[in-house]
């Protein structure tokens, strides 16, 4: 669906991109992950034909964005970081306008807008002026305009920016619902968002792709250890200091880091383990043997965070251990 080869973009003397190369197959949801200024928005703007590249080849559905931009634009729906909304229009008027200028036939406009309004859950506000809507609804209208003409490729720049937690979950579901019918590429610097929404992650740094794969693939390739988070109820009268020491003696455990508990309860311990290899079964067996009741043992989200930091800011790794706060006693 997307083929980018040796793409360069200069703004004056400053190189924003280059050499950037990657390919994306149809139907995938791909996340472009990078720090601010890494080149995410520039890449997406070039894909959306909003910006011309300095050199290189960008093909969308086999069509070149430089030589045939009008053809490419009809295949693409684009939501920039700030949704391009006419605040004086109602949601419905705006979507009809967006559909028409993107080539929807007059006879199809009304039914397609109905469909998109339903999909993006805008029915209740479709007659309201956009200027009166909340930020979350405006983002939804932004997504709706990007898909109203049934594009093959949907390009979303920071779609969850500024949303509250409930809206983030709703937006994630909305983006996931686009999979299959559309190929989706979205950018974010929020790691958990990318890992939960996307099938594949492209890490971009200094205008180049520095890593490419699923979360598991990136972790396996770039991390020398695995991190797991444990919530367990310890037996009454446990010597916590001695427990941390014995825990560190288990084969495969590199580091034990106490954490602030996410939930309150008697004798509850929350801690994170850094493992040299996958010894989760041995950890469980050890804890059960010590009389612990295990409430939760999950792979830490900080894995991806560490990969991201390792790639984007060389020398900055192990966020979890360096930024962690002590819980009950030190290990």
């Amino acid at each position: 669906m997307i083929e980018i080869r040796d793409l360069y973009k200069y703004f004056g003397e400053r190189r924003a991109l280059g050499a950037l190369s990657f390919e994306i197959d149809s139907g995938q949801i791909v996340g472009l992950l990078g720090l601010n200024g890494a080149g995410k928005t520039t890449t997406l703007r070039i894909l959306a034909c909003d910006l011309l590249p300095t050199s290189g080849t960008v093909l969308v559905g086999g069509v070149d964005v430089v030589t045939h931009p009008e053809v490419v634009r009809s295949k693409i729906g684009y939501l920039p970081d700030s949704p391009p909304l006419y605040l004086e229009m109602t949601v419905r008027e705006y979507l009809e306008f967006a559909g028409k200028i993107r080539g929807l036939k007059a006879s199809q406009v009304a039914s397609r807008v109905d469909e998109v309004v339903r999909l993006t859950e805008l029915s209740s506000v479709q007659r309201d002026r956009i200027g009166t809507l909340s930020h979350g609804f405006r983002q939804r209208v932004g997504i709706a305009q990007a898909i109203v003409h049934r594009p093959e490729l949907v390009v979303l720049d920071e779609p969850i920016s500024g949303l509250d937690p409930v809206q983030i979950v709703e937006m994630r579901e909305l983006v996931r619902s686009l999979a299959g019918e559309h190929t989706v590429i979205l950018s974010s610097h929020i790691l958990s968002e990318i890992s939960e929404t996307c099938d594949r992650i492209l890490v971009i740094g200094d205008g180049q792709i520095i890593a490419d794969g699923t979360e598991a693939e990136l972790s396996a390739r770039w991390l020398s250890s695995m991190r797991v988070e444990v919530v367990a109820r310890h037996p009454t009268g446990l010597d916590i200091g001695q427990f941390w020491q014995s825990m560190r003696a288990v084969d495969g455990i590199v580091e034990v880091t106490p954490r602030e508990p996410h939930e309150l309860g008697e004798n509850l311990l929350t801690f994170e383990l850094s493992l040299a290899k996958d010894v989760r079964e041995a950890v469980i067996a050890f804890l059960v043997g010590k009389g612990f009741g295990i409430l939760q043992l999950t792979r830490s989200h900080r894995d991806l965070e560490n990969v991201f930091l390792q790639l984007s800011v060389p020398g900055r790794t192990q966020v979890a251990s360096s930024a962690g706060t002590a819980g009950e006693g030190e290990p």
Binding site: F11, A48, C49, D50, L51, L52, E70, V71, R73, S74, I76, Y78, P80, S82, P83, P84, L85, Y86, L87, E88, M89, F97, A98, K100, I101, R102, G103, Q145
Partner: protein, 240 residues
């Protein structure tokens, strides 16, 4: 081409979704009305002279209104971020410029049409030729269309409507003042400068009811020149 009309229709409707359109029309009608009453009706003039005076006054308000309308056409879209919607749709750069221009010219047409009651009042106590009125209004539309193109070009240069307004007014003012410059230099340069003047030599025939094809061509060429320049600016901004 149909997408040009879709864009023009949206923009035209936008004038009336906000107080902007009504404000501009009201201001033009107020100023034209005051000038018409104070100069044309209170001075002892022949009917044709009253009409000529009306077109002279209206040309000033038309140019000012044209700059006010056109200065926001592209600059405001950039300022609000809505230009991205147009820029990433299958519209070509020329389509965007044409759609915007068409909406502004239609707005100008509506505004100009609403002033028609003033020349019609002359028929109450006097007599003028309908042809004179038609030619005079054609001149106003051509002058306004040329000024709109200048304003649109200025609007393509920046994302600030204020800066666009200043640049548009400066270009328009410089073109108007060519007639003054023409008087200060010798022939043949004086003739060239006088022929380039946006108002004086090129608008006077319309005021007196004379349809001069050379003047019509002049206004069309000015409009075309600045529309092409605006299109090139929109294209150039795709590099930034």
């Amino acid at each position: 081409m149909s997408r040009v009309f879709i864009l023009a229709r949206r923009d035209l409707a936008a004038y009336f979704r906000s107080p902007l359109g009504a404000s501009i029309i009201a201001a033009v009608l107020l100023i034209d009305g005051i000038l018409f009453y104070s100069q044309a009706l209170t001075e002892k003039l022949l009917s044709a002279e009253v009409l000529e005076q009306f077109f002279y006054n209206a040309s000033g308000t038309t140019m000012i209104a044209s700059i006010v309308i056109s200065m926001r056409l592209l600059a405001e879209e950039r300022q609000l971020g809505t230009f991205t919607l147009l820029n990433t749709s299958p519209l070509g750069d020329a389509d965007i410029v044409l759609g915007k221009y068409l909406s502004a010219v239609l707005m100008l047409g509506l505004m100009t049409l609403l002033t028609a009651y003033m020349p019609l009042l002359i028929f109450v106590n006097g007599k003028v030729s309908v042809g004179h009125i038609v030619v005079g209004y054609s001149g106003l539309m051509l002058l306004g269309a040329a000024t709109m193109a200048i304003g649109l070009f200025a609007s393509s240069l920046t994302s600030s409507t204020v800066v666009a307004g200043i640049v548009g007014a400066s270009i328009t003012g410089a073109l108007i003042l060519q007639w003054a410059l023409a008087r200060a230099v010798d022939a043949p340069l004086s003739a060239l400068l006088a022929a380039m003047a946006l108002h004086h030599q090129n608008f006077k025939p319309f005021m007196s009811g004379t349809l001069d094809l050379g003047c019509v061509m002049y206004y069309l060429m000015v409009a075309l020149f600045f529309l092409v320049a605006a299109t090139k600016m929109v294209e150039a901004r795709r590099w930034r």
